[in-house]
Amino acid sequence: MRQQIILSGLGGQGVLFATRIIAATALDMNLHVLSSETHGMAQRGGNVVCHLKVFGGNGEGVFTSPMIRPGMADVLLAFHPEGAKLHGHFLKKGGVLICNDTKMIDATGIALKLGNGLLTNIVLLGYAAARKCLFCEADSLRKALQNASGPRAEENLRAFEAGFMEVTS
């Protein structure tokens, strides 16, 4: 198992939280995780990008670098349409782009319908899970989300399902 995922969005969109959920899922599955995140000044409304590498399980090589090179990512989760343009070059040929825009999935619209625009990140995560582009099953993500959400668990899971349903419906 080896997967390289780029998560891109704006400061305040919960990109870091989404990254942590996927990383926790990998840990639950006994895989190794190496990731790199944006902190500091850029978190104030700037473009935020996380690199996440998951590996292990079988004999394939380990990752040692916390960063993904352009043209190497298997998946790009763009929490804002800008992310798809700005970080699109990280995707490898045949890589999967999941983008929050009105054409693919209007995660922001769905989150607002649920009453909280800050749920956009979780809606998109649910959608990505349903598209089966990540290394893990949707149920493993649900479990990690539940564990990491504290008092917000119910609201977050509802957002996850709302995104998930966009594919099945």
Partner: protein, 591 residues
Amino acid sequence: MAERKILLGNEAIAYGLIEEGCRIAASYPGTPASEIMGTLVRLKDSESIEWLHVEWSINEKVAFETALAGAYSGLRSAVMMKQVGLNVASDPLMSAAYTGVKGGFTIISADDPGPHSSQTEQDSRFYAMLAKIPVLDPSSPEEAKNMVSTAFATSEKYEIPVMIRPTTRVCHARQDVIVKGYQHVETKSPTFEKNPSRWAATPKFRFLLHKQLNEKLREIASANEISIPGNGSTTCILASGVAWANAKEVMDELNLHDRVHLIKVNMPYPLPDSFLKTVLNAHQKVLVLEETYPVIEYQFRDRQKVSGRLDGTVPSQGELLPEKIEDIIRSWLGIEQAKRPVPEDLPTRRPTLCPGCGHRPVFYAIRKVFPKGIYPGDIGCYTLGINIGAVDTVLCMGASIAQAAGFFHSFNGNDKMPPIVATIGDSTFFHAGIPPLINGVVQGARFVLVILDNRTTAMTGHQPIPPISIENMVRACGVEFVRVADPYDLKSLEEILKEAGKYAFEDKKGIAVVIARKPCRMDRRAQHRFPEIEVFITDECNGCGYCVERFECPAISLPKKKEPAVIDPVLCVRCGVCVDVCPFEAIGVKK
């Protein structure tokens, strides 16, 4: 019980400090180092680690000296900061290398190649060299955690401070790491052996201490074992830190290990002469990959065979991203360059103050009240006052005040004396703003100083500030004009600024200080209730763009020029301040 946890590099370092029995830890926040102390504070509390003293000190120099006294007393102690914080602590650093320590003492100084969140790309390892102390260069969170143990052991064995130098990509990397947990460390009692010729050495004894330091350094260098792979290849790459991690992955992928030796350097300084000689004797070609300055490279006395930063093989500035490392390795070995997608040349979003941030109205008002001013600024979220055109200089922590005075003395007597209006945050004021304020008063400078008091150190993740009255502090510095303003009350804020301007510039009385107080909206610990004022764009809006340009709330945008502005309902926090900004009264309040 050992368990596997996903930890941020900084968290891993904190776990390492606790597992290794650190007793005194002190820090001042700064990206990328802040989460080390943040984690220590959290763990001390949640795990009741009562034998550990933790503190957010007032600045890095104070943090350094406090922790050092712990090490003088035989206790394992640590100080952590970002690289420019080490500049502030460089005075005790140089001297502490001479005095040495009793208990293990580690200085964790986090560098920021790029830079991502700093004024400089400086390399703390050069500080280690300058001070003549050993430095460790971790390549991952796990390694950073393990190096805490090496640092303490080396420090105790040779009675010398030891630096650990992680970079942003270690501090803010996450990795699954084994956490051992800790037993209650055998509570070693502090002892302080009086020894004035060491702890209070006069210049004559300093010479002897210097001699001892040189001896320690020689021994440490010869114990610095670095393994050289033995497959007989005549080409080698010497790398440390994240540059090694990137090079390793690239070389794995290109199957280069048969052709090229990859040598990992954990302690880039001091390097043993014998090692440097062996590397040169065994290889025709040597490439050094390290961040950010050529510390390993400079230690080669003969650099004929050595490529790196000094001969231009590696660029002299900027982060060594894995793709850059791949390009360097390929071209150095004469392999065809990789074809990879190039990023579209798009403007990235500039960071801005949060919606509802109490700093925004202050910058707006400064520009409005003092349109032709010079605006010395400082380090924090409020550096972003640049976007509003109300920050002209950003040098280093606390510089706004001394520079305001300096601008005053430069322009004083000139008939076109501009109004000088400086801004500084609460935490930065305590960190380095007090001596320059006293100095400004003593030297008779006249300017307006606005202290942006949001009751926290916001930029770095909301560390606490001293619970000391800023008003009293300012008065004690000799300032007579001190007013407190509420930034959300824009009209009265403007009035207070005008009064301050009159005091400083027209009446020529001295320095006027305005404390603009509003808790940070992102500080979850702040017990503050903010108003909820729902605003909307009325039909009066003609799309002039004044609010977007001069106030720059991220929630307000102008989709097209000359068309009405739009308020983003997700971003808007209903602070209501923009209502007083629009010159056409086109932002209304929903009843």
